[in-house]
């Protein structure tokens, strides 16, 4: 085994084999474990086990390394297919096209993914290829991360855990047999109603890279740091959960038209290495802050929905609910990650 073929050495302990095989082995394990709900359409496209017919197809996707996202959201009430790239890398156009073909049943396809330039490039090229084959494709970018750009440049914001609420609302709408116009409208409405902000405690490692995705001293946290290690807005000493929640919720509420009078769906998303103990403490603190400001929380999610491998930290996500969005969040779903 020479230098060129030796498996690269990482620095964090992981349960993997050759790092270059990590994504494919993960997907094989995933599909086998959830074979009641999903199947491989191609080696990098996970589709519903039973393709839906006569509805708008929902395609999600992006880089791997965020499990259970994105394949965890393929199934009834959510997406029809997910395109998987290499770790933290958007899937190439031909794989995006494969996902669109797997999802299409003649009523058009809606692409929903986080606002990242690599994804826009590759899904965009894939959408052109799909259009050439007669598939009507629309795109909604999720832009919930308030830390990544100011309100005046909201279209530049990254998509983080808010993805899940947007997938759910659009997926439920498509399940009702709604038109492509209506499903797109709902996806845009859910995105516009959603805000998130996170805090990072420690970094992860892309398997085999031999380095952490960012440098953060052991006694420091970074507020607003992105799921690929993109820099946040403030780095400082560790602080109590109540203070972290106050900062996150304050930033989120300041970003809305008004900070009070809303009915919210509240999500705490763990980034992969943060305990449920911490997540529920953060939920309690965030909920108190929202209620103190004159809002109510009617729907809740706590857990790991979109991770960054062994990154520790969490994000707070709120979605403003009305009767329409609440009904869509409550609709039945059966995917590897969500069953209701």
């Amino acid at each position: 085994m020479n230098q060129l073929t030796a498996a690269p050495k990482g620095i964090l302990k992981k349960i993997i084999n050759d790092p270059f095989d990590a994504v494919d082995e993960m997907l094989e394990g995933f599909v086998a474990a959830h074979a009641d709900v999903v199947r491989f359409a191609t080696p990098r496209v996970i589709a519903r086990r039973e393709p839906a017919v006569d509805k708008v197809g929902i395609v999600i996707g992006g880089g791997s390394g965020h499990e259970p996202a994105m394949a965890g959201y393929v199934g009834l009430g959510f997406a029809d297919a997910a395109a998987a790239g290499n770790i933290f890398a958007a899937p190439p156009p031909d794989i995006c096209l494969d996902a669109m073909k797997a999802a299409s049943s003649g009523k058009g396809v809606l692409l929903i993914y986080g606002n990242y330039s690599g994804d826009i490039l590759n899904f965009g090229l894939g959408a052109e290829l799909a259009a050439a084959e007669g598939i009507e494709v629309r795109t909604v970018l999720v832009t919930d991360d308030v830390a990544s750009a100011p309100r005046a440049e909201i279209e530049k914001r990254r998509g983080i855990a808010g993805d899940i609420h947007v997938f759910k609302c659009a997926g439920a709408m498509a399940e009702r047999g709604a038109s492509l116009d209506e499903v797109e409208r709902i996806a845009r409405k859910a995105n516009a109603a959603t805000r998130s902000m996170g805090v990072a405690l420690s970094a992860c490692e892309v398997p085999g890279s031999g380095r952490l995705t960012f440098d953060l001293p052991a006694d420091q946290i970074e507020i607003g740091l992105g799921i690929h290690g993109e820099p946040g807005v403030r780095r400082g000493p560790i602080m109590p959960a109540d203070e972290i929640a106050a900062i996150l919720v304050d930033s989120i509420l300041k970003d809305l038209e008004t900070p009070s009078g809303h009915e919210f769906a509240l999500m705490i998303n763990g980034l992969g290495a943060t305990s449920y103990l911490d997540q529920y403490i953060l939920y309690r603190a965030a909920r108190k802050e929202l209620e103190k400001a004159g809002n109510t929380v009617s729907r809740s999610l706590v857990g790991e929905f979109i991770t960054s491998q062994e990154m520790s930290g969490a994000s707070v996500t709120v979605t403003i609910l009305d009767d329409e969005l609440r009904g869509l969040l409550d609709a039945p779903a059966r995917t590897p990650r969500v069953v209701q």
């Binding site: 230098q3 060129l4 690269p8 790092p19 270059f20 880089g63 790239g85 290499n86 770790i87 933290f88 890398a89 958007a90 899937p91 190439p92 156009p93 031909d94 794989i95 330039s117 690599g118 490039l121 590759n122 090229l125 990544s148 490692e205 892309v206 085999g208 890279s209 031999g210 380095r211 952490l212 995705t213 960012f214 992105g226 690929h228 290690g229 993109e230 820099p231």
Partner: protein, 213 residues
């Protein structure tokens, strides 16, 4: 084996050998995986070349484009687009003993397509900061009437100098752009790996030409 195939395989080896260094560079303003990404590309390219067997250089180029495109992310479409445009520029060349003018036209086609796709310009701290000087070097070589071999060596030097010059820039697009000033002082990984590719192509080209003499 054609000169082109030998050069491409040499470039694949050079990229993979630089995996750790590229990862370290990418760890400054990115997530540290550029070395792994380029290695995946190199392995894709080797697999496709082996599977293609005895085909024309134009078909080989297409395999390289597809192999690099398959890595996805930001760098995949950039290499795929550039290489496919080079193929389009050279499609009328029966055999690939390329003149300096051929090389210049090919490089220009690649630069235009990459600049358009990535919406970037020289100075943004991207691969273009190595590619643009390479194009300029080929233009100068053509104007001087230099042979292809001389031109190729000059192109490699220009690409490397261009890549090194990115260390003084702050990133204007892509993930690193969110780091602003923090990205200054370190070269762009994409420009650096491109310089490694071009240097390896130039070295292999020279040794192929020398071997034939």
């Amino acid at each position: 084996m054609s000169t082109f195939k030998a050069c491409v395989l040499a470039a694949a080896d050079a990229v993979e050998a630089a995996r750790e260094d590229l990862g370290a560079l990418d760890g400054v303003a990115g997530d540290g995986d550029h070395g792994i990404t380029m290695t995946i590309g190199a392995r894709n390219v080797r697999q496709r070349i082996a599977a293609a067997g005895d085909v024309s250089d134009l078909d080989l180029l297409r395999q390289v484009a597809l192999g690099m495109g398959a890595v996805g992310g930001a760098i995949g479409p950039i290499y795929a687009t550039g290489l496919l445009r080079i193929g389009a520029a050279l499609k009328d060349r029966e055999t690939w003993s390329l003149t300096t003018a051929d090389l210049r036209a090919a490089a220009e086609a690649a630069e235009t397509s990459i600049s358009t796709l990535g919406k970037a310009s020289p100075g943004d701290k991207t691969i273009l900061d190595a590619l643009h000087p390479l194009v300029e070097a080929l233009r100068a070589a053509e104007a001087r009437g230099d042979d292809a071999d001389v031109a190729v060596q000059a192109a490699a030097v220009a690409a490397r100098q261009g890549a090194e010059s990115t260390a003084t820039m702050t990133a204007a697009i892509g993930r690193a752009s969110r780091l602003g000033e923090r990205s200054r002082g370190f070269a762009d990984p994409g420009a650096t790996s491109f310089a490694i590719v071009v240097e390896a192509l130039a070295r292999a080209y020279r040794s192929q030409k020398t071997g034939l003499e």
